[in-house]
């Protein structure tokens, strides 16, 4: 046995692989069951969104940017609108700001519920997927009621939102968040004490704090590594500074912390939504200047918001014309895939799946 030799070999994981959440290819150099080297190959979903935006008016950019990160389309709508509003120094009515917060946070919960489901499914538990999607449906129904769409909303517009919420929204929304906050115990009860789940996630794929900061990791993944950095608090936008909520922070930066942190974020989002619904004022939902032919004055800015996956940014340059000169979209997943080869090696291929799932990477955001 002493002179047993092993030989490295290459395994192609993806592009069509259920646990890569889209079309990402990982070229893995393996030594038996251990991953020695990871080489991510991206670009399968490149749709040239940035180039398309250069040939559209400002308002026409919003539905295209919906596709930039389709699980949280509200954030995509919002970050572009916010960028334009900052260049134009445009006022947004109070009611619109509250509606935006409600929608953004509902979208965050929907995204985290999807994360909860698919992560558990990747690791081999099917029930959480059904639980997660069942409650996500309640939120999707609220969006459908408001803007007619279930996935790509085109709801938040420059200077406001596209339409007011219907009368039945508020009771339905309160009911939905009540159901979700009650079900949180179920979600945790299903996994948190499950020995298989703990073995698959605790201490697996630890992302050190320094590496996370060096590679621009953001959002729940960064906070799970112990860095308290949330743009809603650290670089406040919209009206987040008016609400009382906490930023959950992890300790170890392992898969379990990344999973737990997102569940805790759902609780915080519920707090924000409750406060926003209580304080929702009457009034306009759109700035009078917000029209389909809206033109921004010349200027440029980098705008970033806290999306469910991390920092979502738009670098917008306007030359005062009908169309933006440049729209650069940054998604957090781009950095998360980039950092993967630096901490995802020297573990079993099954742990890589758990690691990839808890990074919550979404490919359209990477390839744009």
């Amino acid at each position: 046995m002493a002179d047993l030799r092993t030989e490295e070999f290459v395994v192609n994981m993806g592009p069509q692989h259920p646990s890569t959440h889209g079309v990402c290819r990982l070229v893995l150099t393996m030594d038996g069951e251990k991953v020695v080297k990871i080489e991510p190959v991206i670009g399968y979903l490149h749709r040239a969104i940035e180039k398309v935006c250069e040939n559209r008016t400002y308002m026409q950019c919003i539905p295209i940017l919906d596709r930039f990160e389709y699980v949280t389309s509200m954030s995509c709508n919002y970050v572009f609108s916010l960028a334009t509003e900052r260049i134009a120094e445009m006022e947004v009515p109070e009611r619109a700001e509250y509606l935006r917060v409600i929608m953004l946070e509902l979208n965050r919960i929907a995204s985290h519920l999807l994360f909860y489901g698919v992560t558990a499914m990747d690791i081999g538990a099917l029930t959480p997927f059904l639980y997660g999607l069942r409650e996500r449906e309640l939120i999707i129904d609220l969006f459908e009621m408001t803007c007619g769409q279930r996935l790509t909303y085109n709801y938040i517009r420059i200077g406001g939102v596209s339409r007011d919420i219907p009368k039945e929204f508020e009771p339905k929304c309160r009911e939905a968040i009540k159901i979700i906050s009650e079900k949180m115990a179920d979600y945790e009860g299903l996994l948190n004490e499950n020995p298989i789940w703990l073995k698959r996630t605790k201490g697996v794929a630890v992302l050190p704090k320094e590496l996370a900061i060096a590679y621009g990791v953001s959002g729940p993944v960064l906070r799970a590594s112990g860095v308290q950095y949330d743009l809603r608090k650290n670089d406040p936008y919209c009206i987040y500074d008016r609400f009382d909520f906490d930023i959950p922070v992890g300790q170890n930066g392992d898969c379990f912390d990344r999973y737990m942190l997102r569940l805790n974020e759902i609780r915080e989002s519920i707090k924000i939504i409750t406060q926003a619904l209580d304080g929702l004022p009457e009034g306009d939902i759109k700035n009078k200047k917000s029209r389909m032919t809206y033109k921004a004055p010349a200027g440029e800015t980098y705008t970033r918001i806290e999306n469910s996956r991390g920092e979502m940014g738009i670098y917008l340059i306007s030359d005062g014309g009908k169309k933006p000169l440049r729209v650069k979209a940054k998604g957090a997943s781009f950095n998360h895939i980039q950092v993967l080869p630096h901490f995802g090696t020297n573990m079993f291929i099954a742990d890589l799946v758990a690691n990839f799932a808890t990074l919550d990477v979404i490919m359209p955001e990477v390839d744009r």
Binding site: R86, G216, E300, Y302, L325, D367
Partner: protein, 156 residues
């Protein structure tokens, strides 16, 4: 430090290297000389009062007159945000890689090289990753790029 304080701090301390730009809205925007780029980036990261340790985004731009590369950085420890850009003439589109300062910039520089044809010196891994491997239709994000007639492209 507020945005105004940050802008005046930089003008005071690095005024000879970084010039403020009016076009930047919200967060301060500066323009720097291309040959001082690495030097400035390192200084911004090491400065005790700034500590720009976090790289957000790199944006290549074609303004119809020249290229630009805009660097968006942030500081987690000091909670600051700053943008700075270099202006690159069409015939000398080349920047130095900043991977030694912010490792996160690697893929962003690759993307800028691939889509704009802005060369990045000392990068070490300038390969295609968004476009197809056999792409030979130029740099698609340039303003003078003509979309090829994909329907008529010959079968390979």
């Amino acid at each position: 430090m507020t945005r105004q304080e940050l802008a005046s701090y930089i003008v005071e301390k690095y005024g000879d290297l970084m010039k403020p730009l009016e076009s930047g809205k919200y967060d301060p925007l500066f323009v720097v000389e291309v040959d001082k780029l690495v030097d400035i980036a390192q200084k911004l990261k090491d400065d005790e009062n700034l500590k720009f340790d976090y790289f957000c985004n790199l944006c290549g731009v074609d303004t119809n007159e020249n290229f630009e590369a805009v660097y968006n950085v942030a500081s987690i420890t000091k909670n600051l945000r700053l943008d700075f850009k270099v202006i690159l003439p069409y015939d000398k589109a080349e920047v130095e890689s900043l991977q030694s300062v912010w490792p996160a910039i690697g893929w962003y520089e690759r993307e800028m090289w691939e889509l704009y044809g802005i060369n990045v010196k000392n990068h070490g891994n300038l390969t295609r990753f968004l476009l197809p491997d056999d792409w030979d239709q130029g740099f698609p994000m340039r303003k003078n790029w003509d979309a090829p007639d994909f329907k008529r492209m010959p079968e390979k």
